[in-house]
């Protein structure tokens, strides 16, 4: 700032009275350019904000788990660990253009395994509430969460 002022003074001294107005206009133009660049940067920042997390999606994921568990398919899917079957079953129930991640935990919240479909991103995902799944073959129940991302 000080150096700019000095240069303006130098300009003023060097070209006399006539140039004072010109240097003032020049300063105004620079100020305008700075404001416009700032506003443009802000607008691009606002436009590129990540989409807000949808509360409804997490609830929908819980319904999907309830439906899968209704005929004992969820326990079979988890024990089978078959990604193709998973893709066929869960992938069909998830809305178009969305991806999902199924996480299976032990009753002590240790991650046993997880399966994520292509394009899944935790940054804009909503997860179901933990769902307790028990099966005949395994005495310990599993905790399952299903996360859906846009």
């Amino acid at each position: 700032m000080a150096s700019r002022m000095r240069s303006a003074i130098v300009l003023d001294i060097s070209c006399g009275r006539g140039c004072k107005g010109a240097s003032l206009i020049f300063d105004c133009v620079i100020a305008c350019v700075i404001i416009i660049v700032g506003l443009a940067a802000y607008s691009s920042l606002v436009a590129n904000m990540p989409p807000e997390l949808e509360q409804g999606l997490g609830k929908y994921a819980t319904y999907v788990l309830t439906f899968l568990d209704s005929k004992g398919c969820l326990a079979r899917l988890i024990e089978g660990r078959n990604s193709l079957a998973m893709q066929k079953t869960i992938g069909e129930l998830i809305p178009d253009g969305m991806s999902y991640c199924l996480c299976v935990y032990s009753p002590y919240w240790e991650l046993n395994w997880s399966f994520a479909s292509q394009g899944f991103d935790w940054r804009n995902a909503a997860a179901s509430s933990p769902y307790l799944v028990s099966s005949e073959s395994n005495p310990e129940p599993y905790l399952v969460t299903l996360a859906i991302s846009k």
């Binding site: 305008c32 506003l39 607008s43 606002v46 436009a47 929908y60 319904y63 439906f67 005929k71 079953t89």
Partner: protein
């Protein structure tokens, strides 16, 4: 230089800078206004989905005889400037884990909604063990 001529140049620069800054400010304003309208549209979609779920409940008969209505006036008011699109899909699952699509009901809007429409997804497990996925899209008309 003539003073009047200098003033005219200064004015021209002022007009150029002023219009450029106004143009940028209006662009910023429009993008922020879009952010202000988004919660309203998402809420509208949520209201529509909840009312449909409330009407049909868990009854599979009600769901199979139900037809989607895309007039927002049927769900909430004031409804000016909101366009809706409703899509419901029913699935059944057999013990082997195979999912079959039983039916799709689609209520298209008067004009196709772009990808900027707000979406709300909900689901319900019906009394006969089938599952309905309800997707509602709302857009500023």
């Amino acid at each position: 230089m003539d003073q009047a001529f200098e003033a005219a140049i200064a004015f021209a620069i002022f007009v150029a800078a002023f219009s450029a800054s106004q143009y940028t400010a209006i662009t910023v304003y429009e993008s922020s206004l879009k952010g202000l309208y988004e919660p309203k549209l998402e809420s509208a979609a949520c209201i529509v989905a909840s009312e449909i779920l409330l009407q049909n409940g868990k009854s599979s008969e009600k769901w199979s005889s139900w037809e989607p209505i895309c007039q927002p006036g049927n769900y909430f008011s004031p409804h000016s400037g909101v366009e809706l699109e409703i899509k419901a899909t029913c699935y059944s699952i057999d013990p082997s884990g195979a999912v079959t699509k039983l039916w799709i009901k689609h209520g298209p809007p008067l004009a196709p909604l772009g990808r900027h429409a707000q979406k709300y997804v909900s689901g319900a497990v019906l009394d006969d063990g089938t599952f309905v996925r309800l997707e509602v899209y709302a857009k500023d008309g």
